[in-house]
């Protein structure tokens, strides 16, 4: 894997994500051609029908898919480095469901506090991560298998709470079903403007985290030997990963597999150096989720499949394929 080649692949993937975004804007019950999209995007005229469709419906949704795909993939990439475990991702470690439980409590029990959903998600995600670490910690570090077992336990616990909440608040449940399945439907500019500032902060921090991720992926002993405070890096990077996953959960709900599979694909394409792997995960995560969401809303039209469901349907078999190739 030469460096210039890895760099080139990252750039191409970013360009692909942008191209896919332009195409996705055109797809839907009313098709808009690419020249018209570009025309509207760069020379907006308020009385245009396309203008309303693009700026109020399609563009926010496309941007949201890009942002959240990037967030979750980066989160998975960081967790995989920090936990020294190729299976670590916000879904399997329970971070996503921890965040989801807290969001769901607000959504169902205290709908008047909707503005606190990102904060609740962060608290829930941190709590789940803390439990996983506490359960998986051994005297000489974290054992990879116990991370996954602890994640199973946390996920089961959260699943129980979600089940309980949905029985208690069964009357309010329909409003939450879309969210629980990870849907980007009917999310307007307000959700985009809610998540974008947080996401940008997260991305900037992940850029600074590249070097630390590169050292900690060498293992605790090597990192310590190179003069790093391993526990401090682990905690800080974990907080960053949880933060990126939690704001995504607060915005659109649970989407699995992006955080697991995208970093694997990125590693396969550009190698395990986080200097390339991190931006690659970002670009590829954005691209993958955009494709999943656009596929979900156009393939079975007028029926709409939430991106989370489509990701699970594609992600499960891909995961099995990775196991067959014994990547783990």
């Amino acid at each position: 894997m030469t460096k210039s080649r890895s760099g080139l692949i990252v750039v191409i993937t970013f360009l692909l994500a942008i191209a896919a975004a332009v195409i996705a804007i055109g797809l839907g019950s009313i098709r808009i051609s690419v020249p018209d999209i570009l025309e509207t995007l760069f020379h907006s005229t308020a009385d245009n029908v396309n203008d309303t469709i693009i700026f109020n419906i399609r563009l926010p949704r496309v941007i949201l898919a890009l942002i959240i795909g990037a967030n979750i993939a980066i989160s998975g990439a960081i967790l995989q480095a920090v936990m020294g475990n190729p299976l670590a991702d916000p879904g399997l470690t329970g971070v996503t469901s921890g965040a989801a439980v807290f969001v769901l409590v607000i959504m169902l029990a205290k709908p008047e506090y909707t503005q606190f959903m990102p904060l609740a998600a962060l608290i829930g995600g941190m709590l789940a991560a803390t439990i996983v670490y506490a359960l998986a910690w051994r005297r000489n570090g974290i054992s990879p298998i116990s991370i996954i077992l602890a994640g199973v336990a946390v996920n089961a616990l959260c699943g129980g709470v979600v089940g309980y909440l949905s029985i208690i608040y069964s009357d309010r449940l329909p409003s939450a079903v879309q969210w629980m399945n990870g849907s980007l439907a009917a999310k307007g500019n307000s959700v985009v403007s809610m998540i974008l500032p947080y996401a940008i902060v997260g991305w900037i921090l992940s850029f600074f985290a590249i070097r630390k991720a590169n050292v900690i992926r060498m293992g605790d002993q090597v990192a310590a030997n190179l003069g790093e405070n391993v526990n401090r890096i682990r905690i800080l990077l974990s907080i960053l990963a949880v933060f990126l996953a939690a704001i995504s959960v607060a915005a659109i709900g649970m989407i699995g597999f992006v955080g697991l599979i995208v970093p694997h694909m990125a590693r396969f394409l550009v190698g395990s150096n986080y200097k390339y792997m991190m931006p690659m995960s970002m670009a590829l995560g954005a691209l993958v989720l955009l494709v999943a969401d656009t596929g979900g809303r156009t393939l079975f039209s007028p029926l709409e499949i939430p991106a989370g469901i489509l990701m699970a349907v594609i992600g499960g078999p891909y995961f099995l394929y990775l196991m067959r190739r014994s990547v783990f």
Binding site: M218, L226, N273
Partner: protein
């Protein structure tokens, strides 16, 4: 250079290292030997801060290591574990360049000087032809050399090696130990290593420390330490020891378990 002042290490209720002291002079090669479970690796790991000690202190260049920050220590002391695994796609050159990490701040890139040091480390460990290969594709001995090269690029004054030969076949074991000796003689690098093999310890060290049940059983030059009495006492083995006083490198021939 390095002084260990009566350190004690305890896991839960069990004392693993009890009131252990020794010091190492600059330019020495010191081997720590002892049976399994005697605490020799624990001792080395506590010096490198992988395992905390409950009492006592370790001084590096006259400074208490607990008062030094991790980066400061990393520039002086480097520990190489028994078994190391690099990410599967990492090349030898990339691995060795990690040795420069403690000398850089996050915004600093590798300079010409860093690259010279990396190349020097690769050359010293005879890996020049392998530098673009992945570490994972190397044999056990070669990969151990690559990790030593990384340690060299760190430019430490003290190198700690925890059973550096355990997973290697005989010729690779000697290759690694000869490299250690060469680095010591040419650069004056101080080496402290844990070894299993008594002959290797006798052959490659200036001094040998014998650990038994967490205590210092003996300490001295190989010909002082390697005696049939010591081997019977510590290892429960009968043996013959051949002394060559000109070289001070006794050869140990183990016979049978002592009754």
């Amino acid at each position: 250079m390095l002084t260990v002042n009566s350190i004690s290490i305890q896991y839960e209720q069990k004392k693993v290292i009890n009131d252990f002291s020794f010091s190492v002079e600059e330019g020495e090669v010191v081997s720590i030997i002892g049976p399994n479970g005697s605490g020799k690796s624990t001792l080395l790991k506590s010096i490198s801060r992988q395992i905390p000690y409950q009492s006592g202190s370790v001084e590096l260049d006259g400074m208490n290591m607990k008062a030094m920050n991790p980066k400061q220590i990393a520039r002086k002391l480097c520990m190489l574990s028994q078994k190391n695994q690099a990410p599967s796609d990492m090349t030898v050159y990339d691995l060795v360049s990690y040795g420069r990490y403690p000398h850089k701040r996050w915004f600093e890139k590798l300079t010409k000087d860093d690259r010279d040091i990396i190349e020097w480390a690769i050359e010293k460990t005879h890996l020049t032809d392998y530098q673009e290969r992945t570490v994972a594709s190397l044999s056990g001995g070669e990969s151990q050399r690559a990790w030593i090269a990384m340690a060299l690029a760190q430019r430490p004054q003290i190198l700690l090696l925890d059973e550096p030969t355990t997973y290697l076949d005989i010729s690779h074991q000697h290759e690694v130990l000869e490299l250690v000796r060469e680095l010591n003689e040419e650069m004056g690098m101080t080496v402290i290593m844990v070894l299993h093999d008594l002959n290797q310890a006798a052959h490659y060290s200036d001094r040998v420390i014998v650990v038994q049940s967490g205590e210092k059983a003996m300490c001295g030059t190989p010909d002082q330490v390697m005696t049939t009495e010591m081997i019977r006492e510590v290892y429960r083995m009968d043996s013959e020891v051949m002394y060559n006083h000109a070289e001070r490198k006794p050869r140990i021939h183990l016979l049978r378990t002592a009754r």
